[in-house]
Amino acid sequence: MRALGIISFEDNTANIEGLCDHRPVPAIAFMGRYRIIDFILSNMTNSGISNVQVYCKEKPRNLIEHLGDGKHYNINSKRGKLRLLYGEKSFSSDVYNHDIANYMLNMQYIEEDPNPYVVVAPSYFVYTIDFNDVLAQHIESKADVTMCYYNAKDAKTSFLGCDVVKLDKFKTVKGLEKNRGKLKSQTVSLEAYVMTKKLFIELVKKAADTSSLYWFKDVLADSVDELNIKGYQVKGYVACLNSLPEYFRVSMDLIDHNTALQLFKSGWPVYTQTNDSCPTTFAEGSKVSSCVVANGATIDGTVEHSIVSRGVTIRKGAVVKNCILLPGAYIGENAKLDHVVVDKYAIVHHIKKLEGTDAEPVYVARRDRI
């Protein structure tokens, strides 16, 4: 595919409370063995995009380690390139640390890429897409920009703060506005765009000239009258991981194998960095049902409707329900947890009862010992 892949980052309204204190959204562990960025990055490499730039808003350490040279994402070590880029100067200020600032600071890498097109997409929307189809529609429709959208049926509670696309009957984008949760059904922008690289650069520069607070989506909103922006409808499973309750809800949803298979399609692998964990031990007396379980865990207790990530330990007598246990979490003997997100390497040992709700799951911070 003759396109440069650009993985953009989410704006400041997206915040998976707690988890985001330690790493940016794309680096958050998801579904036991993945990180959120694995989905969009795999979409790109599966679509045949071999040059990918990942823009990182802040705290790049996790992403550097996870992405490596991109070999595990099937990026060819000679003919492809995975670049992790960030605006060194813009880390310090939240309001000026937007995608435009980062593109401007790394403009030479965008300009020198030989591909005529760009595919831009953030990682906090999780779905499966073949960008070849988007590019094909883009070329056929002679649009200036093609924008991916999703017909959300639950926009009152999900996709909050996302852009809603106003489309006419020819699927031309007429405007963008924020989803404030007033309607159930909304056409939500996935912030995934296909256009020529030339136009992309022009728009980035225009945004930088217009306002030092502009994001790329702001300049697009400004341009709906001058440019021919067409919508591309994404079908199937789409989720937006932009808050802790949504991260929690989506994770719980995907415990159902049939639901998960709408996201994990055969022939469309989701790649990730692996770490040679051994299989998981389900000990004598353990009770596990409705769970997604990664390798390297040791389960002695009872686990229901939960996600058990790599290297998690659940001791005897512990009862874990509706929880997300991130890699290396430790649940001590007889602890009772319901609706809890336990961050990496946290130890729940002294406190014997933690209970949250769907709307407010309890969060146990990374490396906390409670």
Partner: protein
């Protein structure tokens, strides 16, 4: 990190005919173990963890899968600048037609040119079909300390068991004075593990001479070691204490898998200081269904369990459907146990589909049932 001066040669040419249909299409070293591993991952990971960087793998029987598997040396971190995994198969030569390896020693002799190119000080000869974790670097240190020409790893067995192994009779300093293959009346309980370190210069002379000997079987145990002893070379026994298992039969392969389920298992594959590396399979996490019952099991990535699994090892991408029961069994990767089927004390071979309602094996069977075809009992 710079490697030590030892090259490993893994003998991986055997069929393992006592594994029956498990080795119908793949060589024994490529047989799956512990849900996600292949047997040869153990010597290869041991090499990587022992700071050995160059490994030759000598293959012969049904080698297509095995050759392509071990050639991906990055699986074990053996893809360093100076090192790598080299697949060495029998070859046609200017002076000779294609000949299979005639014995364990012949397999090395046939690749003397490979070894000469690397010019190692020591060579480590291993077999590709044992399950164990061992630091060969420690053994090399011992070999040097004892100023030995050859060091043979041994483990202590009972005298009763000793009749089934190659036995090393040693003096009080653990120098080997005699080798007996499967002795009826063993004088010692030190069984050879088929792991040798040789000082290459000496071994090279012996291999060249052995190749010319028409009466030789060109075997390390039967020919090279006895000649070393006859010539009063310094042979020392290196005592190994730890888990070791030859998984040459259906029963022993099953047992070794079951050993992984033991509380505080002797063979701990979760030990981060000595990881066993393997193929990076792109499988989903495990999905354990609402009605599933999984107890005392070792389960790996990609498995989907809606039925019952008790006291079993469940391999990559295995499906256990609703109402199916897997008890005291080893389910190899890709196998599917359909609704209502029951397998007890079985090894279900890779990618086999156990049809709905079928029953295989029984709680009281003496032997482990190998399920490798479609026939039900």
């Amino acid at each position: 990190m710079r490697a030590n001066s030892m090259v490993a040669m893994i003998l991986a040419g055997g069929r393992g005919s006592r594994l029956y249909d498990l080795t119908k299409k793949v060589a024994k070293p490529a047989v799956h173990f512990g849900g996600k591993y292949r047997i040869i991952d153990f010597p290869l990971s041991n090499c990587a963890n022992s700071n050995i960087q160059t490994v030759g793998v000598l293959t012969q029987y049904e080698s297509v899968l095995l050759n392509s598997y071990v050639a991906r040396d990055h699986y074990w971190g053996l893809d360093t600048n100076d090192g790598g995994v080299y697949v060495l198969t029998p070859r046609e030569r200017d002076t000779a037609n294609l000949e299979v390896y005639r014995g364990t020693a012949d397999a090395i002799t046939a690749n003397i040119d490979f070894l000469d190119n690397i010019d190692p000080e020591y060579i480590l000869v291993l077999s590709g079909d044992h399950i164990y974790k061992m630091n060969y670097d420690k053994m090399l240190k011992y070999h040097k300390e004892r100023n030995a020409d050859a060091t043979i790893a041994v483990r202590e067995v009972s005298l009763k068991e000793a009749t089934r192994f190659g036995i090393m009779n040693t003096n009080k300093d653990d120098m080997i004075i005699e080798f007996e293959e499967k002795p009826a009346h063993p004088k010692s309980n030190l069984a050879s593990m088929g792991i040798y370190i040789f000082t290459y210069k000496t071994l090279r002379k012996y291999l060249v001479a052995d190749a010319k000997n028409p009466d030789s079987h060109h075997d390390f145990g039967n020919d090279i070691i006895p000649t070393y002893l006859k010539d009063k070379k310094r042979l020392t026994a290196y005592r190994f204490r730890g888990y070791w298992k030859d998984v040459g039969t259906v029963d022993s392969l099953w047992e070794a898998n079951m050993d992984l389920l033991q509380d505080k298992a002797e063979l701990d594959l979760g030990d981060a200081t000595w990881k066993i590396y393997t193929e990076d399979v792109n499988a989903l996490p495990q999905f354990i269904g609402a009605d599933a019952k999984v107890e005392h099991c070792y389960v790996t990535q990609g498995s989907v369990i809606d039925g019952t699994a008790i006291n079993s090892v469940i391999g990559t991408n295995v499906v256990i459907e609703k109402g199916a029961k897997v008890i005291d069994s080893v389910i190899q990767p890709g196998a599917v146990i359909r609704e209502g089927a029951t397998v007890t004390r079985c090894i279900v071979a890779d990618d086999i589909e156990v049809p709905a309602g079928a029953t295989f094996g029984s709680k009281n069977s003496k032997e482990i049932k190998l399920v490798a075809g479609q026939e039900s009992e």
